[in-house]
């Protein structure tokens, strides 16, 4: 169905159910209990997970399939945000035209940058994209202030024309909506001592994320996706067979740029402002970390990575010293203070430190990310079942396969 085989269709259904159930899944603990701080079922965070999921999915189409490591993807996200906010200012508060424009401008922008950057590969490609992104960032901060509003960031104003919308006499800023349904509208239901929030913004982002997931699933399974993987495994051999790889890599680059623009547009739809810091290279680094942590080159990996990072970020920043103090209150005083001091370095403000350590560990020991971790655990259970009836288990078989030779770019 939908041009997918049975297995992929099942995967899509699972993802659909997960996105529908997110408000329940992220709210497992009752309100008012000690564990309630691990809940994450409020719209803001869920939207962020969906949006960064889209961003990471797009990045994965480029890096996961072709192996080109871009360090400048945040530029496309920033461009998407700016164009969406401009659409809100000039045309209408409806999010549809804003998101469409965000995708178009990000696509065009990535076409130009990709056309130039893809003339080189390996580290040079990374540095070219980095240079372009830093240039966009610097320009957005300084010269392009009429368009980007510099340091303050682009915001809505009461005096904006908004030609399609009815005249606004309320004296307050209008809200983003989709055909009249406001993005921050939400239905709250109290059940079993838990407060479930079903917000329009989250379901809108989730629907788009699902669509984005479907497209990336189709790309992964298409001959085009196969071609991209061939480029990753051996570009030289492809060239020797008389194929030009450039159109393929460029297409992948533009697609991932459009994904980033879509994420930027959505971000602006949820909160209509855009700032230059979204384009900084550390923001590009974040999406790299998300994809790697989840499992680069896999379908679900980037989404998982984005979800895990945004969730943990939220939890970790909530754990401050007094929370730690209450956790370790059972320890003797001197020890308690030491333990709290050590832990407080890694929580609250220290979240980037934890993230960096986590990222290093994953790159070193688990290059396939969370997905590979899951597979290894699954294999562990499988092997236990197989072991009794013979030696012919997976590990033995793997030994006879040729070792994958390390890829050296020189």
């Amino acid at each position: 169905m939908l041009g997918l085989n049975k297995r992929d269709f099942r995967l899509l259904i699972i993802v659909l159910l997960l996105t529908l159930g997110t408000p329940f899944l992220l709210q497992p603990f009752a309100e008012g209990t000690e564990l309630a701080k691990f809940n994450a079922g409020y719209p803001d965070l869920m939207q962020r997970i969906a949006i960064f999921g889209i961003f990471a999915m797009g990045f994965n189409i480029l890096f996961g399939l072709t192996g080109y490591l871009s360090f400048g993807h945040a530029a496309f996200l920033g461009v998407g945000s700016y164009s969406a906010v401009w659409m809100f200012k000039l045309l209408s508060m409806n999010v549809i035209p804003a998101i469409l424009l965000a995708m178009i401008t990000a696509g065009l922008f990535s076409l130009v940058i990709g056309y130039i950057s893809l003339r080189r590969s390996g580290i040079y490609f990374s540095i070219l994209t980095l240079a372009f992104a830093q240039m966009s960032f610097a320009l957005a901060y300084s010269v392009l202030t009429p368009i980007t509003n510099g340091e303050t960031g682009l915001q809505l104003a009461l005096s904006d024309p908004r030609i399609l919308d009815p005249v606004n006499n309320t004296g307050s800023l209008p809200l983003t909506n989709i055909f009249g349904l406001e993005m921050n509208a939400a239905v709250k239901i109290e059940m079993l001592g838990r407060l479930y929030t079903f917000s329009v913004g989250y379901y809108f982002s989730a629907a788009i994320a699902l669509l984005a997931f479907y497209v990336s699933l189709r790309i992964f399974r298409s001959p085009f996706g196969l071609m991209l993987r061939a480029i990753k495994s051996n570009q030289q051999r492809l060239s020797y067979t008389g194929l030009s790889t450039r159109p393929y890599t460029l297409a992948a680059f533009v697609i991932s740029g459009i994904y980033a623009g879509l994420a930027g547009g959505l971000m602006a739809s949820m909160d209509p402002l855009a700032g230059a810091e979204r384009m900084q290279w550390t923001a590009s680094g974040e999406v790299v970390i998300m994809s790697i942590l989840g499992g680069v080159g896999t379908l679900m990996g980037p989404v998982l990575g984005a979800g895990a990072i945004k969730y943990l970020e939220n939890i970790f920043s909530k754990i401050n010293e007094s929370v730690l103090q209450s956790w370790f209150a059972f320890l003797p005083d001197g020890l308690e203070n030491t333990v709290v001091w050590v832990f407080s370095r890694f929580t609250g403000d220290g979240w980037p430190l934890t993230l960096g350590l986590l990222f290093m560990l994953v790159v070193t020991f688990l290059p396939g990310g969370l997905v590979e971790g899951g597979q290894r655990i699954a294999k562990l259970f499988k092997r236990d079942k197989v072991k009794p009836d013979g030696e012919n288990n997976d590990e033995d078989g793997a030994k006879h396969k040729p070792e994958p030779t390390p890829r050296v770019d020189e």
């Binding site: 392009l144 960096g356 790159v363």
Partner: protein, 343 residues
């Protein structure tokens, strides 16, 4: 004309920092073939070695002076740094005043140790993995180091003044026959420039004129053959990594008075120094130095008001623009060898 001279010398101090960082990056890349994204963090640690030494020297003994009172009427507490107690007030004050130059000596062993630990503990395991993995793990390390610094020293800039003697400015214009104050240049920046030239020459002399350097150069050219000759090249490359870390570190120490260090300075310099390495040519030591100074000077020219009025915003992007043009037209950079990291 005086404007041109002024911009050239203005570019020299930033160019010196670029050149020193890029030199270290190139040393690591040339010997071990590793693209080290954590190099900016080493520069950062160097700058915070200066901060640390300044704080250590200012550790004070507290004595209560009953004859004086503070504004609340309590007996005044007088803080005297221990160095002043041990070495006498004048000598002690001088030591504190000279804390930045002294921090160079303090930083070298620390940086070498950090470098060696980094190479043996982490980067060694990444030789046989793709360049992308090396970039990623060192990028992660850079985040970790940066945030460790942030956790211990906070997020604000910490002022680390240069010694009193060097705080003034030197009037260059008078020497060249211009009127007074036409071309003035702070003493410390001159010292930074001289210092970096000294370090760069020392590195080149070390590689050129010592047996150790000769072996390292041979190893850079053909690691395998050198290994087959029975030389433990890995050990030497580890030491070179330590030296490269120390170069970045002392560059950071001496830069501290020019720009008060904060935890983001590593990342700020990292991106630019990669651009410098690429412009100079991947793996070329003279290229890295030349490109460092060149880009420093070009950047300071671009910030001239005359240039900015023709091309607004050019000062912000000139370095990246040059990098893009160089990469597209001459991918091996100014002085790079053919075939290094080319496709």
């Amino acid at each position: 004309m005086d404007q041109i001279i002024l911009q050239v010398i203005n570019g020299l101090d930033k160019g010196s920092a670029y050149a020193l960082i890029a030199l270290g990056l190139t040393l690591i890349f040339g010997t071990l073939g590793v693209v080290n994204f954590a190099h900016g963090a080493l520069f950062l640690i160097g700058a915070f070695c200066a901060v640390t030494l300044q704080r250590i020297l200012n550790i004070s003994a507290q004595t209560v002076d009953p004859t004086k009172t503070d504004f609340l009427g309590n007996p005044a507490v007088i803080k005297t740094p221990y160095v002043e107690l041990w070495f006498g007030p004048e000598m002690g004050a001088a030591i504190i005043d000279w804390s930045v130059p002294l921090a160079v000596l303090f930083a070298i062993p620390i940086m070498v140790a950090i470098g060696v630990i980094m190479e043996r503990g982490l980067i060694k395991h990444f030789y046989n993995r793709p360049h992308a993995d090396q970039i990623l793990v060192t990028f992660g390390l850079a985040i970790v180091l940066q945030n460790i610094i942030k956790q211990f020293y906070g997020a604000s800039q910490i002022s680390t003044p240069s010694p009193e003697v060097f705080r003034g400015s030197f009037d260059f214009g008078v020497l060249l026959g211009y009127e007074a104050n036409a071309i003035i240049y702070p003493y410390w920046r001159m010292i930074y420039f001289a210092f970096s030239v000294g370090i760069i020459s020392a590195i080149f002399a070390f590689l050129r004129f010592t047996t150790f350097g000769m072996v390292v150069r041979a190893g850079m050219a053909d690691r395998e053959t050198v290994g087959l000759l029975g030389i433990n090249i890995d050990k030497r490359f580890t030491i070179m990594f330590g030296i490269a870390a120390a170069v970045a570190g002392v560059a950071g120490v001496m830069y501290a008075p020019i720009n008060s260090p904060s935890y983001t300075m590593g990342m700020d310099f990292l991106v630019i120094s990669f651009v410098v390495v690429v412009v100079g040519g991947m793996g070329s030591l003279p290229g890295a130095v030349l490109a460092g100074f060149l880009l420093g000077i070009v950047e300071s020219f671009a910030s001239l008001n005359e240039v900015k009025s023709i091309l607004p915003g050019i000062d912000q992007i000139i370095i990246y623009l040059i990098a893009i043009i160089i990469l597209l037209t001459r991918p091996r950079g100014l002085m790079g060898k053919r075939g290094v990291m080319e496709d």
